[in-house]
């Protein structure tokens, strides 16, 4: 009985590891899709309503579908309000360090950091160009992430289960 429970636990742990690793691929894809829609909204707000960034972020926090992103974006809106001690670039950097973005690769974050260098600082047309440029780059990242997803998600799930089973076989 103890052996059976132990075996099940080992297989379960292996599978859990596999799921965790594979979920990172899925999560990166979802986050990149979220970022694409965030940037689209940002572009629309800057172009049509010329709203200030804190208002835009507040609106984003309200309308973004992914729950985990609401809080960090609301924090970003608050940090960029009047009397802000930090430069927008510094605030943006802190925002990108939020745990919710841990599934993104360094290459994805680099693109977003680059946007932070220009965000709010130039005229409206240049802002739109920068956002478009960032979106195009993120689309490439998304294509790569989806390919990785297709290749790796099932692989890691089976690998986790297989590793768990292998350990059980070796121990029995």
């Amino acid at each position: 009985m103890v052996k059976l429970i132990g075996s099940l636990l080992l297989v379960g742990a292996g599978s859990w590891w596999g799921y965790t690793v594979s979920n990172r691929f899925i999560s990166r894809c979802e986050l990149l899709k979220n970022w694409l829609s965030i940037l689209e909204m940002l572009k629309t707000e800057i172009y049509y309503s010329t709203s200030f960034l804190p208002q835009i972020f507040m609106k984003l926090a309200k309308f973004i579908s992914r729950e985990e992103l609401k809080q960090p974006i609301a924090k970003l809106a608050e940090a960029t309000g009047y009397g802000s001690e930090e430069d927008l670039n510094e605030i943006w950097e802190h925002f990108l360090q939020e745990p919710v973005f841990c599934s993104l690769k360094q290459s994805d974050l680099l693109i977003l950091r680059e946007l932070g260098n220009y965000l709010g600082r130039t005229d409206r047309l240049n802002q739109l160009e920068r956002i478009d440029y960032c979106r195009e780059k993120l689309k490439l990242c998304l294509a790569e992430a989806e390919a990785e997803c297709l290749k790796n998600v099932n692989l890691y799930r089976y690998l986790g289960f297989a590793l768990g089973s292998l350990v059980v076989l070796l121990l029995v």
């Binding site: 709203s51 960034l53 802000s84 709010g120």
Partner: protein, 342 residues
């Protein structure tokens, strides 16, 4: 961001100093509370001390928040302080203020105005942008209720508001007086027999209502509709078409095109009140645009303000250019430091 910005401004000191970064905020917070209420302008120039203006006097801010008459012991503004202040007052959103940067000023919540200077970029002879900013001036907006009371009985006759022009040199309180007249006639004053009327305000430079995000931050009355940052030539016709005003108010008229606009207001059966820069009637007649308006008999009341006995001194009220002087006893509405803007 909170809803406070949408409510009418309370103009307490904390609300004003929140636009500054921490280092400056802590110094400004320590300014003597008696002085706080008198401050009308805060002027910042890179590499220079911070200038604080109270009415007709000027001081320098020291590190402890004290106001000095000599600039030797004062805090010198660093480029970083200036950049952070700029970042704070613009919410880091320069793209949203392109127009304002070309005009050289922007309005903050509470109706306070920031003017700035720097390197001017021209395009076809017009200012396209001011970049590399080096100095700014925060003008604190304060509303002084009741200052229009002594003037109002002269401007209201037979249940209608008379076509009025307020003349004064710069910084003599004409916008503050105009705002109060608008508020009083919009809300109505039973004691003066004034019924509330619908007022349309074309606030070209956001000075009258101090609108922020389209919402007036200063009280301009319950029956007042404000067209913010709108040119007079466009705004007046929009109001006439869409809002059915009984009185149209606007600030600083004086060029040739304004004559046509005012003529159209009158022909539409609507009254108006406007302000113009001029020391007196003689000076006003030297300006071709104003001369045409005044000589055509369009104006029924002319209110002349000065700084003679302090900001907002009413020098005289005339019944039109050729009419009698209805008032010349010199009402002094408030003490010298109470009328800060316009």
């Amino acid at each position: 961001m909170n809803d406070k910005r949408f409510s009418r401004a309370e103009h307490d000191w904390d609300e004003i100093i929140r636009f500054f970064p921490n280092t400056l905020r802590s110094m400004l917070k320590n300014v003597n509370s008696l002085e706080q209420s008198k401050i009308t302008e805060i002027r910042m120039r890179i590499g220079r001390p911070i200038e604080i203006i109270t009415g007709n006097r000027s001081y320098w801010l020291n590190r402890a928040g004290g106001l000095e008459s000599v600039s030797s012991q004062t805090y010198i503004l660093t480029p970083e302080d200036f950049a952070r202040t700029l970042n704070s007052i613009t919410n880091g959103s320069f793209y949203a203020l392109e127009e304002e940067f070309a005009q050289g000023y922007l309005t903050l919540p509470g109706g306070h105005r920031v003017g700035f200077t720097g390197h001017v970029i021209l395009e076809t002879g017009k200012i396209k942008l001011i970049r590399d900013l080096s100095s700014l001036n925060l003008r604190i907006a304060r509303q002084i209720r009741g200052i229009a009371r002594p003037v109002l009985p002269f401007l209201w006759k037979d249940s209608r508001f008379l076509k009025t022009l307020i003349l004064s040199p710069p910084a003599s309180g004409k916008t503050t007086l105009l705002r109060e007249i608008i508020r009083e006639v919009s809300d109505g004053c039973d004691d003066l027999g004034i019924d509330g009327i619908r007022v349309g305000v074309v606030d070209e430079r956001s000075e009258i209502a101090g609108s922020y995000l389209g919402i007036p931050q200063l009280d301009v009355g319950n029956r007042t509709d404000v067209l913010d940052a709108c040119p007079k030539s466009e705004g007046v016709y929009l109001l006439l078409r869409a809002m059915n005003p009984q009185l149209i108010a606007t600030d600083e008229i004086g060029n040739e095109r304004d004559y046509q606009v005012i003529e159209d207001i009158i022909n539409a059966g609507v009254s108006f009140i406007a302000t113009a820069h001029a020391q007196n009637l003689t000076e006003a007649l030297c300006r071709p645009g104003l001369k045409r308006i005044l000589e055509n008999g369009m104006i029924e009341r002319i209110v002349i303000l000065s700084n003679r006995l302090g900001v907002g001194t009413v020098e005289s009220i005339k019944a039109g250019i050729s009419g009698p002087e209805l008032f010349n006893n010199r009402i002094q509405p408030k003490s010298e430091e109470e009328l800060p803007d316009g």
